[in-house]
Every structure is written in structure tokens, then in C-alpha cells.
Amino acid sequence: MTYPQESADDYVINGYDFFRLNTLLASPGDIYESTQSGNAFALGPESDISEVVVAYFDQQQPTFMNQLSVTSDRGFSARLDANNIGTYAPANRPGKIYMWPADLWNPDFRPFGFDNTNDRIILETPRLDVIQFFKQQQSMQPQRRDKTWTFQSVAMNPVTAARSYVAIPFYGRKYANICVALNAGNMQGGFITIQGHRLTIGDQSGSGSPSIPKILAVQDWGGRAMYSFQFNAGAVQSVGPITSGQDMSANVSGNGGMFDILTVDVTYGTAPAVVDKYFCEITVSDTPAANGVVQLTA
């Protein structure tokens, strides 16, 4: 998050017709503000967050604050005033427009069963992108763009059964295409695991991460290949061992948009003597795949 955050007033002074808040989240409790009134609100194309709460001054509420949600499927096209003179009750804070992500985020997220000693993780911070329009919009179809995460070289810890994760935001997404390329010569008996995680608010006094994981695909292979999984997220899938030289692809149907974080991890069957690495590319989209049938081809 850039600090201080972007100023909506500067957008007005500089002649823009909108105020765009485009920032990485800094904490689970980020709250952003706008001192400008707006005629429409929508998620921006770069947003990983799928739902943003917009709070505004409403003198008919006991606290003078009312809220609405802007999602990747639905924007808000009406005027909301920033009452910079009035104050909310009982905090006595200025009656500006406040915005914060409705999706849960934990910058210390670790997949369930993560080994703090041997496992590794690359955790991508979600981006919040919301646009406040100063002028009335005749029509508005907010839509996030498809986003591709590319990890050229993810290091593997040369410890048997150690897992090396990449974790990306998956809020509200309905489709993902995952490609993993690795040196299969070192990966005999190893695993590629794809998990969708649903974050919850819970007691963290015990071990493990407060998330509810769902294993989407676990694959055991025995040779060199590029493995590609396409799925709508939601179903559990297990695939059998793959012989050398074969490519694998999988289409999984299910209830899209139900996961907050998507992880892909690779683990050795028997760790080699040197550090190995793998390539991973994940493309996510709000558009579900046309083919929703469970299908496994070799």
C-alpha cells in the first residue's frame, strides 16, 4: 500500500473524471477513504479482491453510516455524497466515503499442514482496485481482466516430502488454468497438488492456518512432462500415476468463485542432492470454462 493513499481531490484538481484506488493490501484491516462524491462505483480491471464495501453518510441510520457492496459482477450506479462536514457516530470521524475489502486476507497465510521448517511458499499479495466515477455512467459492466501469474523459477527445498508452494489470490474467480513444468528426472514419486483455500475468522491459538482447504488435484507421476490442469474450482480430483513422456490435462467442473486463495505445490518423492526448481504459470478468469465436464486425458 502506498502511504499516504491516493487523494481523490487531486484527481479533481487534475481534471480527471474518476478517482481510482489501485493498491496492494497492507493488512487484513485496510480501510481507504474518499473525500469526493461519486456518481458510480465499480471494481477496476486489476482487482484481485472481488468484493468491496462502500460506506457513506446516511443521516437516517443510528450511526449515520450506511454500506453497500461493489463486486466483480455488480457495480453501483447512483450518487453517493461525501459529507466532509458531518461526522459519523459515535466515533465522530468525518463523514467521508470509506472503502474496504470484504474478502478476508491474511498476510501470514500458510496452507493447512505447512511445515515451517522445511516447506517454502511464495505468497502473492492481493490488489485492491476500485474506481469512483464523478460523472454519471450510462451503462457499466465492471469486469476484471484475466490475470496470469508466472513463476519462472520456484526453488525446491532438497528435503524429502518438503513442499514448495505458490499461493495466489483467487477471490471470486471461476476459472483457472495451471501449468507446471519441472525436471521430472528428480521428481520420481513426487506430487503436484492444487488446493483451493477458503479463509475464515477463527481461533489461531493452535497449529496450522485458519483456512479450510480443498484438494483439487493430486497427481503422482514418474517422468518428464508438462502438466496442465484446467478447472472451475470446487471439485476434488485425484489422478493416477503418469508414465514418462505423457502430458496431462484435466478439466474440473464445480462451484466457481468459492475460494479465496489458490495454491500449487510440488514435493519430492526422494529429494535430490542439489536444489531443484520448477516453472509454474497460473491464469485466472471470471469467466467459467465452457466445458464443465470432469475429464481426464492422457
Binding site: 479533481v12 469526493q36 461519486g38 450518487r79 464523478f134
Partner: protein, 166 residues
């Protein structure tokens, strides 16, 4: 150019000096009251020779509203000049109110006219009327001020302006 008043060859006969066009007696002849036929009464001032001077200029600018620090309502147009047609257009979301009262707060309280985004609002300001503007936030407002100098003459005629020298 020769000034006829100084050129002795064109001196005005003495008996003609001091004679002026007589005014119709100021007696009420009807419901509209006395009429001043002196065309020079309450005339609009001639354009000034200096560039940028004079009260007949058209003004075009973008006004940035701001949150008032001391509840003093800013003046958008100080109507101490001639009659003028003022056109304002809100470019952002507002809320912005304009009115002839000094106290326009709260902005949504109805004391002024609430501007709508991208909708020009035109008002003819009489001489001596100020136009105030109020807002709760920073907004862009397009302002166009066009003088109406002939309104000054019409007003004077209707109100029975004094004839110089009488």
C-alpha cells in the same frame, strides 16, 4: 481633427450656448409614469482603452470549490458591475449549491440551487446582486460571465433615471 469648440471659425453662436433639448414635463400622463427621453441618461460606460480593463468583459474560468474553513461562503460573482448572464456547469459529482444568500450551508439544506453534473445552469444577475457558491468538497465548476450592458439602460428607462443638468 479640429475641435469645434476652440476653432473660432466654427464658434457656436453665443445665443445657442446653454440651450438644450427640453425635456417633456414630468407630469403623470398615464400608469407608467414619467418617461425620460434623454438618451444619455444611465448610459453604459464606453469600453476602456486599456486592454483588460472595463466592465464589459466576458469572463471564462474554472472554479475549484473547497471545504470552507470558517463557514464563510465564497463569492462566485460580485455583482457590482453591470447586469450579467452567469452560466455555471458542475463537472464533478458535487454537491455544489449557488444562490444570492450569503449563508448557503448546509449545502443540501435548500438555501441555494443545487447544481447537477454536466447540466449548465444559467442565471441573469441584476446589478448589485452577488452570487455565492457553497460545497462540502473540492469540485470543478465551469463559469461563464457575459455582461448585459443594455440591461442597465433598460432599467434606467423603466425606473425613470435623472436627466443630467436638471
Amino acid at each position: 481633427m479640429v475641435d469645434s469648440r476652440r476653432d473660432p471659425r466654427r464658434a457656436v453662436p453665443a445665443q445657442q450656448l446653454g440651450q438644450r433639448t427640453s425635456m417633456v414635463a414630468a407630469t403623470a400622463t398615464g400608469k407608467i409614469g414619467p418617461i425620460n427621453l434623454d438618451r444619455t441618461g444611465a448610459s453604459a460606460p464606453a469600453p476602456k482603452a486599456q486592454t483588460g480593463a472595463g466592465d464589459n468583459r466576458t469572463q471564462l474560468f474554472t472554479y475549484l470549490t473547497k471545504l470552507p474553513s470558517d463557514r464563510q461562503t465564497p463569492i462566485l460573482y460580485n455583482g457590482d458591475r453591470l447586469w450579467a448572464k452567469v452560466t455555471v456547469e458542475l463537472e464533478t459529482a458535487g454537491p455544489v449549491a449557488i444562490g444570492q444568500q450569503q449563508n448557503l450551508y448546509p449545502v443540501l439544506g435548500g438555501q441555494g440551487i443545487l447544481l447537477e453534473t454536466d447540466q449548465p445552469y444559467e442565471v441573469i444577475i441584476a446589478k448589485g446582486t452577488r452570487l455565492y457558491i457553497a460545497s462540502n468538497s473540492v469540485n470543478r465548476v465551469k463559469v461563464k460571465i457575459e455582461p448585459l450592458p443594455w440591461m442597465e439602460q433598460i432599467t434606467a428607462l423603466l425606473m425613470g433615471g435623472k436627466v443630467p443638468g436638471q
